[in-house]
């Protein structure tokens, strides 16, 4: 399979579309089926595709361990940050409506949901990728 031009090219072509689709699924989560988890998993599949076609070093080079860790943490921080912000506006945890009424911006609630979903998506993407990468190349690096 190594050096197979067809596979490599097809994969290379597919990856952006997969990632775009993933973003669509994430953003769509506020008003229909979809959401952070599904989108994140789809996003992670793009890396899996890269892994299959180009091998581990290539993926690691693009998306290294520390980046994965940063993304995983970042997503949760977005999620929790939004939730805690709601508390600051004297709502309950994740009560977006509180911010909406406090600031008076219409449809802010939907936007907040998208932000939260994006946070979830980022974390899921990072974690899924790291699970696959760690199983594929267990011995190569120092454990956490």
């Amino acid at each position: 399979m190594r050096e197979n031009v067809v596979i490599r090219t097809v994969c290379r072509l597919f990856v952006p579309f997969i990632q775009l689709f993933a973003l669509y699924v994430i953003v769509h989560g506020a008003s229909g089926p979809g959401g952070g988890f599904q989108g994140g998993v789809i996003f992670a599949t793009s890396f899996i595709l890269l892994l299959i076609a180009f091998g581990l070093p290539c993926v690691r080079g693009r998306f290294g361990r520390s980046w994965i860790r940063a993304y995983a943490a970042c997503g949760i921080i977005i999620f929790a940050g939004v939730g805690l912000t709601c508390i600051l506006f004297s709502g309950n945890f994740l009560e977006y409506a509180a911010i909406e009424t406090a600031l008076g911006i219409p449809h802010l609630q939907t936007l907040m949901i998208d932000i939260v979903e994006a946070g979830i998506g980022i974390t899921v993407m990072a974690v899924m990728t790291s699970i696959i990468l760690d199983f594929v190349g267990k011995e190569e690096e120092e454990p956490l």
């Binding site: 008003s31 959401g35 988890f37 267990k138």
Partner: protein, 124 residues
């Protein structure tokens, strides 16, 4: 007899779920290979997921999507779907941990089967 047929005809989905669940349990208990056990675990969990999805179904229901004002439709109960999404995440995490442990066992003992494991333990 007719009752039974009617029962099967209306509840076949539950029966299928239970069969699937039993397959999973069988693999969990009877298979010696640790990886197959993990697969059995996944089958078991999937059966439960299907069970949830099947009971959320409404005859003739559509996907629960926001519709434009004035349009109404029967849609399936979305809550079990959401629950199962969470359960899938949980299942995924369990699978990941289980596989990591199996890899650890393999690295330690160079076996993936329970028989081999018992032998190695005896030798120690």
């Amino acid at each position: 007899m007719e009752n039974l047929l009617a029962f099967i005809a209306t509840r076949y989905i539950y029966i299928m779920t239970i069969i699937l669940m039993m397959i999973g349990l069988y693999a969990l208990i009877a298979k010696k290979n640790l990886v197959k056990k993990v697969i059995g675990l996944n089958i078991f969990q999937t059966a439960i997921f299907l069970f949830y999805i099947s009971f959320s179904d409404v005859d003739g229901g559509t996907a629960p999507i926001f519709l434009p004002d004035g349009v109404s439709a029967t849609y399936v109960n979305p809550i079990p779907h959401v629950l199962i999404l969470t359960a899938i995440v949980v299942g995924l995490a369990i699978t990941a941990v289980a596989l990591a442990i199996v890899v650890g066992i393999y690295e330690e003992y160079q076996v993936t089967g329970e028989d081999g494991l018992q032998e190695v333990m005896k030798r120690q």
